[in-house]
């Protein structure tokens, strides 16, 4: 047992000595939470637009004023022709062009059909859609006001009143989705990537052979490697939970103990993936690349953390089911936001536990055959 502790201590010293890596390990969750929480918004604010006004009448003036005073748009260019729109788009000067045809005010005032064109640069498809819908809403509100002043409308009979309740997240905060995702990502990064790389490093520099001829048995070596990273990852997990709760005001409706226990389970699973990867390779570069390609990328793209799983094609949805982060994200959302317990989350927990056992079994077998 003493030997084992000495070994664990050695691992800790390795980690603590490398200040820079340690700094990055704890800086990374901060950076991600900050960026995701405050920088990545789909909110429209002061988007650059161009105006092609061939009318210069009262209504076109008023509509333009409405658009520009809404806070969503700012006028970047007064355009003269359609060709200018193309040029402005190609130089990335504007995202949206409002085209008001000649005689617009005249047509509109006479009750004839009048048209406004909203030309958007749809290379950025998302923002094109939101810009168009914001502008449409503003113009629509203007038209409704005009109509209301000309003819007072009677109350419509037979109206279905829809009251929409946004369950679990009434303010529609983005943080509810990405904090669990960031947590899964950082934990995988620290646990799986770090362990696989450190073991590969011992192999690369030859110190692994030294360890293997020492009186420590294999189990001790394996667990001695795991323990420090388990602690480190756990600290990191707690940090992210704290950031989420105190900085981004995510509720913690469920039991904190359950959340921490599930976090430990996930870390254990991630560590066993790290062990498996390292038992398959001798080079740090390959270990890192393998963790990146096999683990991190699918986690980011297929776990439902950024892109909804239901919208993916069938084969990818199937693959998404074997990605551990998906289950962990479900669990974190369940405990923190929905406030549910094991009675609902047992299937996810079971899947994670099963994966951990499979991976650790595989890596134990691999390690044995290599040494034997």
């Amino acid at each position: 047992m003493n030997r084992f502790f000495a070994f664990v201590k050695k691992e800790f010293l390795h980690i603590l000595r490398d200040r820079r890596t340690l700094l990055i390990l704890f800086g990374l969750p901060f950076l991600q939470v900050l960026l995701f929480g405050f920088a990545l918004t789909n909110e429209i604010k002061n988007a650059n637009i161009g105006l092609l006004d061939n009318d210069h009448g009262a209504h076109s003036q008023q509509i333009t004023n409405r658009l520009l005073s809404s806070g969503y748009f700012q006028l970047r260019a007064n355009l003269q022709s359609y060709r200018d729109i193309d040029a402005a788009f190609r130089q990335n000067k504007i995202k949206l062009a409002v085209v008001i045809p000649a005689n617009f005010t005249n047509d509109y005032a006479h009750g004839w059909s009048a048209q406004i064109q909203l030309v958007s640069d749809a290379t950025e498809q998302n923002s094109a859609i939101s810009l168009t819908s914001y502008a449409t809403a503003i113009i629509g509100a203007y038209a409704a006001e005009q109509q209301a002043t000309t003819a007072s409308q009677a109350a419509t009979p037979m109206r279905i009143d829809v009251s929409t309740r946004m369950v679990f997240n009434p303010e529609l905060k983005g943080a509810f989705v990405f904090v669990p995702g960031v947590m899964a990502m950082v934990l995988l990064l620290v646990s799986a990537m770090m362990t696989s790389v450190t073991i590969a490093r011992e192999k690369e520099t030859g110190t692994m052979d030294v360890l293997l001829v020492s009186p420590l048995n294999q189990g001790q070596i394996l667990f001695g490697k795991i323990v420090p990273y388990l602690l480190l990852s756990f600290l990191n997990g707690c940090l992210i939970i704290a950031l989420g709760v105190f900085l981004l005001h995510i509720p913690l409706h469920g039991s904190l103990i359950l959340l921490l226990a599930e976090t430990l389970l996930f870390i254990f699973m991630a560590l066993s993936i790290g062990l498996l990867i390292s038992s398959l390779t001798d080079s740090q570069l390959v270990a890192m690349f393998a963790s990146l390609v096999v683990m991190l990328m699918p986690t980011i793209f297929l776990s439902g953390f950024i892109f909804p799983i239901e919208s993916m094609p069938r084969p990818l949805q199937f693959i998404a089911n074997i990605i551990p982060a998906k289950y962990f994200i479900d669990i974190v959302k369940g405990v923190m936001i929905k406030g549910v317990g094991l009675s609902i989350l047992w299937p996810q927990t079971l899947v994670l536990a099963g994966m951990a056992i499979v991976f650790i079994g595989l890596s134990l077998r691999n390690l044995k055959t290599r040494i034997g």
């Binding site: 490398d18 820079r20 990055i24 990374l28 991600q32 960026l35 995701f36 990545l40 918004t41 429209i44 604010k45 193309d86 788009f89 190609r90 990335n92 009750g111 048209q115 064109q117 030309v119 958007s120 290379t123 950025e124 498809q125 923002s127 168009t132 113009i139 038209a143 109509q147 009979p157 037979m158 279905i160 009143d161 929409t164 309740r165 946004m166 369950v167 679990f168 997240n169 009434p170 529609l172 905060k173 989705v177 770090m194 790389v197 490093r201 390779t281 740090q284 570069l285 390959v286 890192m288 690349f289 393998a290 390609v293 990328m297 793209f301 892109f307 239901e310 990818l316 479900d330 959302k333």
Partner: protein, 371 residues
């Protein structure tokens, strides 16, 4: 010149000898491009909905029918009570629940209005917004149908104002078209910077760096010798990615491919330069890896790959001035989708050039032949 050639030959030999790495380097971009292009989709589809019908009338049945055979929704069935529906929401088994209260039909006829309740699982806020929008539209259309059946007079048209949206360069609003040009470059920085950084640190770690240091190789020769192979590999990957983009995903290519390659070359120099700089600052591969990771996360998230850079807060936009990925993604989208010319992209060109030169200068300054 000969020395550089030897150095480059050595690098290539090392790279080709490591079969696993070579495979990973070729597979990673292809895999990611395919994954991202198919998986990256903010479209909201296959929304699951449960119905709690407490009215059991013709109207409630008709309203339920509206959700049954429609593209975006998957009708999961009826539930007897609202409590059970809430449990389904808790379990994550459904996205929406529509509750039609008792006397819905009667109220609709007798009073001027009848309420229904829509419960939306809003953990994913943006999805919930879209989902409730869809559901509301369906209910409103149903409402309009009912109205016309019972009050067949069309109210006076009055003033008419129509807004006609036009989506240029991507008229079908395909997400893939938007994503692919961006991903192409994101891959280059991911692989270029990481591999270059790790490669050099490895030489430090296993001690071959010292051997290189005692040879008569000059500093610039060393740097050129390290830059060239990785830039070449990057160009191969870029070509591969571009091939997939154009032939598999049918991404439009409006602009000049020559210009695209020119920018790719400049950007690759920057990536490998960044790798050099990181490697000059780290002692172990682990350090280099995490440092590279830190930069990449920062670059990628702020680059506008996922969300528009214009909407970001002021501090993020200021940070973005030194984000090479943001410029090059702009360039990729502009050339491929809009057919922008060199003259349109001057700002991006000079920004990238400045960043490239300063990164390489910084890296060569940090690289010391002495230990």
């Amino acid at each position: 010149m000969k020395r550089i050639a030897f150095l480059i030959e050595k690098e290539f030999k090392q790279i080709f000898r490591n079969k696993v790495l070579l495979r990973l380097m070729l597979v990673a971009p292809v895999l990611q491009l395919i994954l991202l292009s198919y998986a990256a989709n903010f479209e909201v589809k296959n929304l699951t909905i449960y119905l709690v019908d407490q009215d059991h009338s013709t109207f409630s049945g008709r309203l339920a029918g509206k959700f049954r055979y429609i593209d975006n929704f998957r009708f999961m069935g009826y539930l007897p009570t609202q409590k059970m529906a809430y449990q389904q929401l808790q379990r994550g088994a459904t996205d929406l629940v529509l509750v039609i209260p008792p006397h819905f039909e009667r109220d609709l006829y007798r009073d001027t209005q009848a309420p229904v309740q829509l419960l939306v699982n809003a953990i994913d806020g943006s999805k919930a917004g879209i989902a409730s929008g869809y559901a509301n539209t369906i209910i409103r259309n149903f409402n309009a149908d009912v109205l016309i059946e019972n009050f067949p007079i069309v109210p006076g048209a009055g003033q008419q104002l129509s807004v006609v949206p036009q989506f240029w360069y991507n008229p079908r609003l395909e997400y893939r078209t938007f994503m692919v040009p961006g991903v192409l470059f994101e891959l280059l920085i991911l692989i270029g910077a990481l591999i270059a950084a790790l490669n050099i640190v490895r030489e430090k770690e296993i001690g071959t760096m010292e051997q290189l240091n005692v040879t008569p190789i000059r500093k610039y020769q060393f740097i050129v010798g390290k830059l060239v192979p990785f830039v070449v590999i990057g160009m191969v990957q870029f070509t591969l990615g571009l091939g997939i983009a154009v032939f598999l995903f049918k991404t439009p290519t409006e602009g000049s491919m020559l210009l695209m390659y020119g920018f790719a070359l400049l950007f690759l120099l920057l990536c490998v330069g960044l790798g050099l700089l990181i490697s000059a600052l780290s002692d172990t591969q682990q350090q280099a890896m995490f440092a590279a990771f830190f930069f990449l996360v920062f670059f990628i998230l702020l680059s506008g790959l996922f969300s528009s850079t214009e909407n970001m807060p002021r501090w993020a936009q200021v940070l973005n001035y030194i984000n090479p990925l943001r410029y090059i993604i702009d360039v990729g989208r502009s050339i491929m989708l809009k057919g922008s010319t060199a003259r349109d992209l001057q700002t991006q060109f000079f920004a990238l050039l400045t960043l490239t030169l300063s990164t390489i200068a910084l890296a060569s300054w940090r690289y010391r032949k002495t230990v």
